[in-house]
């Protein structure tokens, strides 16, 4: 039970759940949509990757790409069905949330009907090798997970900072009305946002299925963890989500090694509630009144 092991676990968990948390966070801050359909996006992407690995090739890169692509497609579907018809209607926040829940109910049942309740396993991408770094054993899949998640996150952050689409998304985050006045199409931006966040959830699904399996309802736990992390970091803040992911990842790793697995959620929620009582908008929640529609 040494501290490096705990820290290592914390980083791995944080990198996967951080992806979903950042996705939830970006969607909320730019579109004002609380997307509880990421659970479905997660399973959909997992099945996309599984189909690729079963019928086409088992090579890591195409399987991972298939997962990301499936996630992006699923995100765009949610955008087309829920966001675009609803975004200018009254009571959008509640209706959007219930709508994404309905999609997730429909989608999970469709997956259950198509693929059956049995869980599917994805091939191991990163081999079984391990690296010994000064007494710390790093297995290949852990390194792979952390590297992939970091690369994806960096790509998204740089894309948001550097590209024209990213500029549009950031403008929507600051003030959706002003953005639409200067000619940034809310619907078009919605599709970009949902595609990129869906892709992130897809990657998270592929990475997490290195440890767990792909099943119709497997997206629920990652969704709840992602949402809690996004909440704790402050909805709408990427760096807040990353900080919260690290804190909660550390809590989870420490609890499961010190107290036992069944106390993980309890300690996590105590931590979240403590943080939220002192900072009701999360660790770095900047959006105080900006997102009030």
């Amino acid at each position: 039970m040494d501290i490096t092991f705990v820290l290592l676990n914390a980083v791995v968990i944080a990198s996967i759940y951080g992806l979903i948390a950042v996705a939830v966070s970006i969607t909320w801050s730019s579109l004002g949509l609380i997307n509880l359909g990421y659970g479905f996006v997660f399973s959909f992407a997992g099945y996309g990757a599984w189909l690729m690995s079963t019928y086409v090739t088992k090579m890591p890169a195409p399987v991972m790409a298939a997962g990301i692509l499936a996630g992006a497609i699923c995100g765009v579907i949610i955008c087309l069905v829920v966001f675009i018809p609803l975004h200018d209607k009254s009571n959008f926040t509640t209706r959007g949330m219930v709508g994404t829940l309905a999609i997730s109910l429909l989608g999970s049942q469709a997956l259950l009907m198509n693929f059956g309740p049995r869980a599917k396993a994805l091939p191991e991408f990163f081999g079984t090798g391990s690296v010994n770094l000064g007494g710390i054993v790093l297995t290949a899949d852990r390194i792979g997970i952390v590297v992939c998640a970091t690369v994806m996150l960096c790509f998204v952050v740089f894309w948001m900072k550097g590209s024209r689409r990213g500029l549009e998304i950031r403008a929507m985050m600051m003030n959706p009305h002003a953005a639409s006045i200067v000619g940034i199409g809310i619907r078009k931006t919605g599709i970009y946002v949902m595609a990129i966040t869906g892709g992130m959830a897809g990657l998270a699904a592929v990475l997490l299925s290195q440890t767990y399996y792909v099943a119709p309802f497997s997206g629920l736990t990652p969704l709840i963890k992602g949402v809690s992390i996004a909440l704790c970091g402050g909805l709408g803040s990427v760096q807040g989500a990353i900080i919260a992911a690290v804190i909660l990842g550390f809590t989870e790793a420490a609890t499961s090694s010190l107290l036992g697995g069944q106390y993980v959620l309890i300690t996590q929620f105590l931590v979240i509630i403590c943080i939220l009582i002192f900072r009701p908008r999360g660790i770095s929640g900047l959006l105080d009144k900006a997102r009030e529609q």
């Binding site: 009571n91 219930v98 829940l101 736990t221 709840i224 909805l235 069944q262 959620l265 509630i273």
Partner: protein, 551 residues
Amino acid sequence: MSDFQRQATQWVNPLSVWGTAEGVDVVQTVTSPNPRDTWDANEAYKAKIHKVGRFRWHLVWPNHGENLWKRWRWWPTRRNVLGIHGLYNRKTLKAEKKIDDRRPIYWLICLLIIAIAPVLFPTGMENTLLSAGAIFCIFAAINVCWTLVVGTASIFSLATYAVVGVSAFMTTWLSMRYGLPWYSLPVFGSAIGLLMGWLIAFPALRLDGFYYALLTLGLNELCRVFFTTSKAFGSASGGLYGADTYIPSDLSPFAQSIFGYYGAFALLLAALFLFRFVNGKRLGRILRMAPEKREAFAQACGVDYRSARVKIFLITSAALGFIGGFYVAQYRGVAFSIFSFDTVLLGLAMLTIGGIGKAEGAILGTLVVTFLDKVLIGIGPLRYFLIGLLMLGVVLFLNKGYFGIKKQFNAWRDKKRGEWRSIRSEKGGEALPEEATELDNKDELFFRRFDKMQRDHLKKMICPEIIEEHRLRPLGQHSEALERVLYYFRRAPMEDKYALHHIAATDRYKIIAFSGERGVSPRVVEDKEYEHVDDAYHAIFMRRIHDLMES
């Protein structure tokens, strides 16, 4: 201009039998259009119109002035059972009675139907329907309480089923461990619910709506994991069973089902009374003053909305705990599925389908979802598909669920009415409806309408033939069409009326326009000077025709 076909004709001066000054009896001219066509075109509606009025079958109660104040009242208060007011029909002048709010009648009918439902169940399905009915009543009670939290207190909590579940598990455990009798279970349940509500009300004071929703979603998951993994609560058996029950075990299974059904129905009635007395009384009214996003205004008026919200939350949590204890007393225990995400999802579907914030919405939604979920169990997972589709459809097309349809439809109809009205109303001399109500002299309105019609008709008459006729002979007897046009021009008001100015020095003519005000000199319209007076007359005529066609 118009599709009127002109034909050459002769106009015979009807006065020529007495002789005319210039000896012109006959003028070559063209036929002019029928003024009746212009009249009809102006009178007709351009938009499609429909028959309007009250429905023939609309039920109207006759009334008499003496009877108006003979009403049912809630003894010993003077509150009316039904809100009724008397009015006189504006057309028939008969006294009528109108019920302001018919919902109490509908409530009574629906509750009566639920009460006698076991008699109406088709044979062969009684057991399924009775157990589904009991579940419906319990879930409807839970959802009515949830409506109090989400609708009245506007705290978007998703931990309702968690409160019920925790209370149910704890009371089952207490009953099994210490042998508590069934009648104490709801009481202990409400104590546990109150405690639980007190714990989760803390974050609600600090967090905004959707932060709280997501947090409570997590809390629900936390409860699920805690109870599923802990050994004391029967982690292996899928639930905890073995508590004391109020249903006598010496009854036949069918009688037990009936007993359970009516027990659950009583619970539903109790929940509805709670809703009525929280939502309709002081706390509910305080919070109606402080809807979401307008709290600051309410606070400035001295409404302490925070403490009202927390009070409602605590009352509801105690009620939910009571329901948890009752659930245990009915089913002898509880399964882990009460904490599952699907339960929250189905619960949210129930609230959404009926409309969030209304007790009737919660009950209708529960009825629909329970029917799909428990009675149509034969169609397999397809029923979740149906529920999902229903939920999605309601969210996409209805603003406030089923019970918001009427309001939404009326708003839509008003919008359409406005659009149709704007199609019908025309400009161009006629008054706009808004303006018409503000004009005192209504003659003015009729004159404008007539004037517009006349101009429409004159526009049709103008053609190259009459212009040519005028150019040849500006004065004297003309054909009918030209004469009518000229009469109209001559009758124009003095303001901006064209006239000729004779320049004596050069013996030429210039077009001027009168100011219409005494003492204010006319203005010069154009610099062109005319040598002959007939050319000047024709120039004025052309100007007037131009102005007419422009109007």
